[in-house]
Amino acid sequence: MQGCLTVSRESQSTNKKFAFVKCGRMRPQILSIEARMEEGAGDAVTELLSGVDFENTKHQKVISNGYGPYSGGYANGYTCINKRNGYRGSEQNGHVLASSDEECTAKNMKGPIKNGYVKTTLKEPLKTRILKESFEPPTLLTAALTHISFYILMFLGYLSQALFPPKIVKEKNRDGYLPLFDRFASFYSRYVYRRIRDCWNYPICSVPGNEVVLKDRVTNDNGWTFEFTGSKTKCLNLASYNYLGFAENSGPCAEFAIDAIYKYGVTTGGTRQQYGTCDLHVELEKLTAEFLGVEDAITFGMGFATNALNIPTLLSPGCLVISDEKNHASLILGIRLPGATVKVFKHNDVKHLEQILRESIYKGQPSQEGYKPWKKILIVVEGVYSMEGTIVRLPEIIALKKKYKAYLYLDEAHSIGAMGKHGRGIVDYFGCDPKDIDILMGTFTKSFGSAGGYIAGTKELIDFLRKNSFASKYAWAMAPPVAAQIIAVLKILMGRDGTNEGQKRIETLARNTRYFRRRIEQMGIIIHGNEDSPVVPILVYLYSKIAAMVRTLIKEKIATVGVGYPATPLMEGRIRICLSAAHTKEQLDYALAVIEKVADEIGLKYSRKPIDPTPIDYDKIKVYVD
C-alpha cells in the first residue's frame, strides 16, 4: 500500500492542516478501492488485471503452460483476455476528485466527460480471446557475447575516429552555446552505422508490392559514398508495410486515384481551414468514421504529424500522460511538446500501468501548496508495436481507463486494416466498442497503400481538432489522388464494390501471418510478438549478423529490413519482416527455405523452446473463427 504510506509520511510534516485534509479525503478512497477490488466489483477487475494467474474459472478457460507472459524463462504467455468492456462497479467512486477536473475537460474536450463507469450487470456471456505472445530472452552466454562484441566495436570505432578523424566540418565549443549535435549520435552514425550502411536506404525503382526492384550500388570506401552500377535486382518484398497488398499500380484503386488527378489536380493548394478542402476530403472523413464505427473523423496529409501535432492540442501543463515504453517517435514527440507530465509504463504491462495510475492520482500534480488533481490523464498506447510485433492488451486497458477516468489514445498505425475480422484494427480484433476509446488515431500509409493519417472519435472532439489543431490550420490538405486511393480501399474493405475482395485480403494476411510465424518458430529462431501480428521481428542481436543476413538475403533475392539501435535497445538487433496479403504461399515457402539456410549459416537458431515438429498445412490454418 504505497498510498497509505505516503499519507503517514506526509502527516508528520509541518503542514499539518494539509496533511489532515489529505488524509481525511484520500484515505477512505484508497481503502474503498481496495475493498472494492476484494469484494463484488473486483470480481471482474481482478480477472482483467491479473493476467495469467487468476483463478476465477467460472466464465473463462485458462490455458497456461506454467510460464507467465513475462516471467523469464522462455515466457510463452498464453493469456486470457476478457472481451467484455468495462466491469461492474459502484457509483461511489472517489476518483472524480483525483482524476480529471470537469472544468478543464469541459473547456477542451466536451465529448467524453461522462466516461465514468456505469452500473452494468452481466448480461451477455463473457467471451475470451487467447493471446499467444512469445518473448524468449537470449541465453546468458548470448547476452554476454553480445556485450563483449559491442565493446570491441565501440573500441575500434573510437580508435579509428582518433587515428583518422573524418574530413568534416567540426563544431567548436562556442561560448554560451550548447553543441548542436549529440556527440555519441554522430560517432554512432559514422563509426557503427556507416560500416553497414549498404543494408539500408536502398533506392527502389518499382511499386513495392509483393516484389520490388532494387537499384544496385557499390561502395569503394567502406560506406562513406555509394555509386550506382546501373543494374537492377528484382526481390521478393518482405520489407514494406503493405499489409493488405494495396500498393499496386493497376486495378480499381489506382484507376480511381488517376481519375482524381484529372478531376482535381495533384493538390488543392491550401490548408484544410482555408481553401484546401474538396469533396474527396469530406467523403473520406465520412467513410473513415463509418468504417471505424464512430461519430466523426478528421484526416491529415501526414501520419507522423497526426501524432506529433494533435496530441499537443489536447494537452496542457498540469495534465498527465502515461505512455508505453515502446511507443513510436511521433507519439513521444507529441507528448513532449505541450509540457505535460509524462510517465512511462513497461511495455504492455497493465499491472505497472495501474500502479502508476494509482500513485499519480493519489499524489496529484507536483505542487507546493496542497493537493492539486491532474487536469487530464491520457493513456497513450499503440495497437501493434512495429518493432516488437506485440499487440496492446486493449480490454484490460479500457477497463483501467474506465476505472480511473482517464482518457485513452490508441495509435492504430500498424493495426488498422491489418488486424480484426473486418480490418478495423485492434478494436475489431478484441471485439471492443470503438466508442470506449476516446481518441482513435491511425495512418493510411500502411495497409491502405497511400499516405496520411486520421483521428476519429466523438463529434465534439473532431470539431475541436478541426478548429484548433496545427495540422489542420497550417498543413496542406491531403492530395486528391492520395485521398482517392484511400477511399477506393475503404470501399473495398467495406464491401461496397460488390466483391468480397477486401475480406479475402484480410483473411489471406491473417493466414500468411500465422503460417509464417509458426514455420519460423519451428526452425528454432527467436521471434517476438503475438502470433497474429503481421510484423515478425527475427532476433539476431549482433550488428554483424544484421548485415550478414540482409546482404545474404538480397543475394538470394529477398528484401528485408534490419533494425538496430536507436530503433531498438542497443543489444537487440533484429531483422523485421512484414507480411502482406499479396504474398503467395510459394513466395513464403521460398523465403522460409532461404531464411532457414541463412539461419544455419550465420547461427541464428538461438531458441531453447521445445519445437512442435508437426508440418503446418497452409490451407487448414484457422483464422478469425470464434
Binding site: S149, F150, L153, S160, R195, I602
Partner: protein, 82 residues
Amino acid sequence: MGKGVIGFINYWYFRYLLVTELYMVEKWERVMFHIVILLLLSLLSLFNTTVILGLVSWVTQMIFFQSSFPETAPSQAIHGEL
C-alpha cells in the same frame, strides 16, 4: 558449410568474425585487433610460464620438501627441477 578442411576453417573463421563484430569493421582494424589480442595472449602466457609457474614450484618445494629448503632463487629452480 564449406567443403574440406579449408572450407571448415573458413566457415568457422567467418562465424568467429560475426560474433566478435569484426565482420563489419575495416581490414586494418581487424588485423590490428588480432595483433593486439595475440600480443596480449603471448604476454599472458609468458607471465604464466615465468612468474606464476616459478612461484608455484617454489611454494610446492616449500611445502613438500621443507627439510631441503631450496637455496637457489625461484627462477633457477625451474631450470633445475622441471
